[in-house]
C-alpha cells in the first residue's frame, strides 16, 4: 500500500519542476571548472578569429619588404614574418580557417557517420552488411596519401579550403559510423524500442525520437573529439604543404615557416604564437569533451 500513500502525497505537495536528463547534465557541466575555463578560452579564440577584420586592419596578403622579420613591438604585437606580414593579424585570420575547417569537417563527418551508423544498426541484416562493408572500404583509404594525391591532381584547378573540407569529410566518417552503429545495436535491445514499434511508430520515428536521443551523448562527445582531431589534421596537412593553399593563412601554414632552421632557431615569435594557440585550442576542446562526457554520465557525481 506504500505506493498509494505516496501517490496522494505527490498530488498534495506541488512538485517542483522536474529536470530533464539534459537539464541535469547541463547543471553538472556548468559546475565543471576546467571545462568552463576551456569553453571560455575557445569562445575567446573563436570570437577574435571571426571578428578579425574588425580587430586588425592590416592587409594579410601584402608583402612588405621594408618590415621583414621584425621582433615584437607595439606596432607589430607578435612581430612580422620573413615576408614582412604581421604575425598577430595572420594568427587571427589563420584561426578563422583552422576553426572553419574543423567545424565544417566535424559537422559533415558526424552527420554522415550518424546517418550510416543508425541505419545499419537499426535495420540490421543485409542493410547492415552492405553499409558496414562500404564503411570498411572507406576506412581503408589512407587519408594523408589520398589528400596529397588529390591535391596534386587538382593543383591549381580546384584547390582551396572547400576541397580540403570535402576530402577530409568523405574519408573521415567511418569511425563515427562504427561507433554509432554499435551504440544503436545495444540501445535497440531495450524494451522501449519494441514498445515503440508495437504502438505503431514508423522506423524513422523510432530512430529519431527513441534511438538517437539516447545515443546522442556519445555522439556529442565524439563530435568534440573529432573537432580537435580535424584541427590537427588541417594543421598537419598545411604544415606539410598539402592542406590549405600557402597564400591563405592558417595555423598549420604559419607553423610551416618553422621548417626553415633560421626561423626555428632565431625567430621564435613567428612560430610560437600559432603553436601555442593550436595546443591550447585542442587542449580546451578535449577538456570540454571530457566535461560533457562526465556531465552526461549518470554515474559520475561531479
Amino acid at each position: 500500500m506504500a505506493e498509494a500513500i505516496n501517490d496522494t502525497s505527490i498530488t498534495k505537495v506541488k512538485a517542483q519542476k522536474s529536470m530533464s536528463p539534459w537539464a541535469v547534465a547541463r547543471r553538472k557541466f556548468l559546475r565543471n571548472k576546467l571545462a568552463m575555463i576551456s569553453l571560455f578560452f575557445l569562445m575567446t579564440v573563436s570570437i577574435l578569429s571571426f571578428l578579425a577584420p574588425y580587430i586588425t586592419t592590416v592587409d594579410i596578403t601584402r608583402v612588405n619588404i621594408g618590415s621583414m622579420s621584425l621582433t615584437p613591438s607595439s606596432e607589430h604585437w607578435f612581430g612580422t614574418d620573413k615576408s614582412g606580414r604581421d604575425v598577430f593579424t595572420r594568427l587571427l585570420y589563420g584561426g578563422r580557417v583552422s576553426l572553419l575547417v574543423g567545424i565544417s569537417c566535424t559537422l559533415l563527418i558526424i552527420t554522415f557517420g550518424t546517418l550510416i551508423g543508425a541505419l545499419a544498426g537499426f535495420f540490421g541484416g543485409i542493410v547492415d552488411a552492405l553499409l558496414m562493408r562500404f564503411t570498411d572500404f572507406i576506412l581503408n583509404f589512407p587519408l594523408l596519401v589520398f589528400v596529397i594525391v588529390l591535391n596534386a591532381v587538382f593543383f591549381g584547378k580546384l584547390g582551396g579550403v572547400p576541397v580540403l573540407i570535402a576530402v577530409i569529410s568523405v574519408l573521415g566518417w567511418g569511425g563515427v559510423a562504427r561507433l554509432v552503429r554499435s551504440k544503436i545495436l545495444s540501445e535497440k535491445e531495450n524494451e522501449y524500442i519494441l514498445a515503440a514499434i508495437s504502438i505503431g511508430s514508423r522506423p524513422a520515428k523510432v530512430i529519431m525520437k527513441h534511438l538517437l536521443p539516447n545515443v546522442l551523448s556519445t555522439i556529442i562527445v565524439q563530435a568534440t573529439l573529432t573537432f580537435a582531431a580535424m584541427i590537427v589534421v588541417e594543421s598537419g596537412l598545411s604544415y606539410l604543404g598539402f592542406g590549405v593553399p600557402a597564400e591563405t593563412p592558417s595555423w598549420g601554414n604559419m607553423l610551416a615557416a618553422s621548417r626553415e632552421p633560421d626561423v626555428l632557431q632565431n625567430m621564435p615569435w613567428i612560430w610560437i604564437p600559432p603553436a601555442l594557440t593550436l595546443v591550447f585550442t585542442i587542449l580546451s576542446i578535449n577538456f570540454i569533451g571530457e566535461g560533457i562526457k562526465d556531465a552526461l554520465n549518470p554515474k559520475s557525481l561531479r
Partner: protein, 341 residues
C-alpha cells in the same frame, strides 16, 4: 504472496459459454532463431524457442502462459504480436490471418493488440516525458487530432491507471517500479486495444506492489473489455489472473486447461512438479514436493521424443522415441503426454 496483501480474487465466474467469439487463435506456432557459425557465418542450426504452440483465446478471457525461464513464453508472446517473425504456423486474430501481414496493414492491426512489458525500467524511454510516452500511440494513429484533445485523453488514462495528473510533465526516472508499470499500462491502453499481452508485468516488482498492479489489470479488463494473454513464471500470480492456463516447457505447451483443473488435478508430470512447488500457506497441510533433476535441455538441440523425458520422474522407454501430441483428454483439457489418457 496471497497471505501478504489482500487480493481481489477474480470472481469465480461460471465457465464461459463455448459459443463466445474467438479473438485469437494460434496454430502450431514456431519461432526459430538461426545459429550462425563457421567461416562464412552460415546458419548451422536453430534455437527452437517456440516449437509448435497452439491455443485459442476467446473474447474477454485471460489465458495464463506459465513456464520456467527460457521455455519460450515471452518469445511466443512477441511472435503473436508480430514483433518477431514467426518461422511457421498460423496466427488468426479477430478472424484475420495475421501470420504474414506486413507494412501498413500490420501497422493498422497493431492498434488492436498491445503489450505490457516485463522490465518497467527498460520499457520506458528515459528521454521522454510521461505525457509524450502515453500520447505517442495516439499521435501515431490519429495525427489530425487536436493537441488539447490528446492531452485530455492522456490525463484520463493517467487517472484511470492511478497516477497523479502532474505525472504528465515528469520523466520516467522519477517514478517507482510500480508507477512505471502503470505508465506502461496506460501506453498500452491508449489505442483501446482488444488484446493485451502482458509479458511478466509484475515479476520485476515488489510483492506489495505486485498485487496493486494485478488488481489494476483485473479492473481494466472489465472496464475496457480486454482479452489478456498473461505470461508469467509465478503460478500464484497466474492463479489470480487467468481463466485458462497453459503450461510451457522447452517451446511446447504440455498442458492447457481451465484454472481449476490445473491447480486441483494436474495431469502432466511437469505440471504436477510445478504445482507441488507452489508454497502452501497452511503449515499443517502436508504435501509432497516433486523435485525435478537436471537442467532444461538446450532448445538448440532438444531431446528426441517427448521434450520432457530427460527430467520426467515417470518416464518410460518409449518417451524418448514418441513425440506426444497435445490431445484432448477431457472436454477443455489438453495434455501432451503418452502416459495420460
Amino acid at each position: 504472496m496471497s497471505n501478504v496483501v489482500d487480493i481481489q480474487h477474480k470472481e469465480q465466474s461460471p465457465p464461459l459459454p463455448s459459443n463466445q467469439e474467438t479473438l485469437l487463435e494460434v496454430k502450431d506456432l514456431k519461432t526459430y532463431y538461426p545459429v550462425k557459425g563457421g567461416f562464412f557465418r552460415r546458419t548451422v542450426g536453430h534455437v527452437k524457442a517456440v516449437d509448435g504452440v497452439s491455443f485459442s483465446l476467446k473474447k474477454g478471457e485471460t489465458l495464463g502462459l506459465v513456464g520456467e525461464s527460457g521455455c519460450g513464453k515471452s518469445t511466443a508472446g512477441r511472435t503473436i504480436l508480430k514483433l518477431l517473425k514467426p518461422s511457421g504456423g498460423r496466427i488468426t486474430f479477430d478472424g484475420e490471418d495475421i501470420t504474414n501481414i506486413r507494412g501498413s496493414r500490420l501497422r493498422e492491426r497493431r492498434k488492436d493488440f498491445q503489450m505490457v512489458f516485463q522490465d518497467p525500467y527498460a520499457s520506458l524511454n528515459p528521454m521522454q516525458m510521461v505525457g509524450d510516452i502515453i500520447s505517442e500511440p495516439i499521435k501515431n494513429y490519429y495525427p489530425r487530432k487536436k493537441a488539447k484533445d490528446i492531452k485530455q485523453e492522456v490525463m484520463e488514462l493517467l487517472n484511470r491507471v492511478g497516477l497523479p495528473e502532474d505525472a504528465y510533465h515528469k520523466y520516467a526516472h522519477e517514478f517507482s517500479g510500480g508507477q512505471r508499470q502503470r505508465i506502461g499500462i496506460a501506453r498500452a491502453l491508449a489505442l483501446k486495444p482488444k488484446l493485451i499481452i502482458a509479458d511478466e508485468p509484475v515479476s520485476a516488482l515488489d510483492v506489495s506492489v505486485q498485487s496493486q498492479v494485478l488488481n489494476l489489470l483485473n479492473e481494466l479488463q472489465d472496464d475496457f473489455n480486454l482479452t489478456y494473454l498473461f505470461i508469467a513464471h509465478d503460478l500464484s500470480v497466474v492463479k489470480h489472473m487467468s481463466d485458462h492456463i497453459g503450461i510451457m516447457y522447452l517451446g511446447h505447451i504440455v498442458e492447457i486447461a481451465d484454472k481449476k483443473s490445473i491447480y486441483e488435478e494436474p495431469l502432466h508430470p511437469y505440471t504436477q512438479a510445478l504445482i507441488s512447488a507452489v508454497p502452501e500457506p497452511n503449515p499443517k497441510k502436508k504435501k509432497e514436493r516433486i523435485v525435478l533433476k537436471g537442467d532444461v535441455p538446450s532448445p538448440e538441440n532438444p531431446p528426441s521424443g517427448c521434450p520432457f523425458h530427460t527430467r520426467c520422474p515417470v518416464a518410460v522407454d518409449k518417451c524418448s522415441t514418441i513425440k506426444p501430441e497435445l490431445k484432448e483428454v477431457k472436454p477443455g483439457r489438453k495434455v501432451a503426454c503418452i502416459l495420460v489418457d
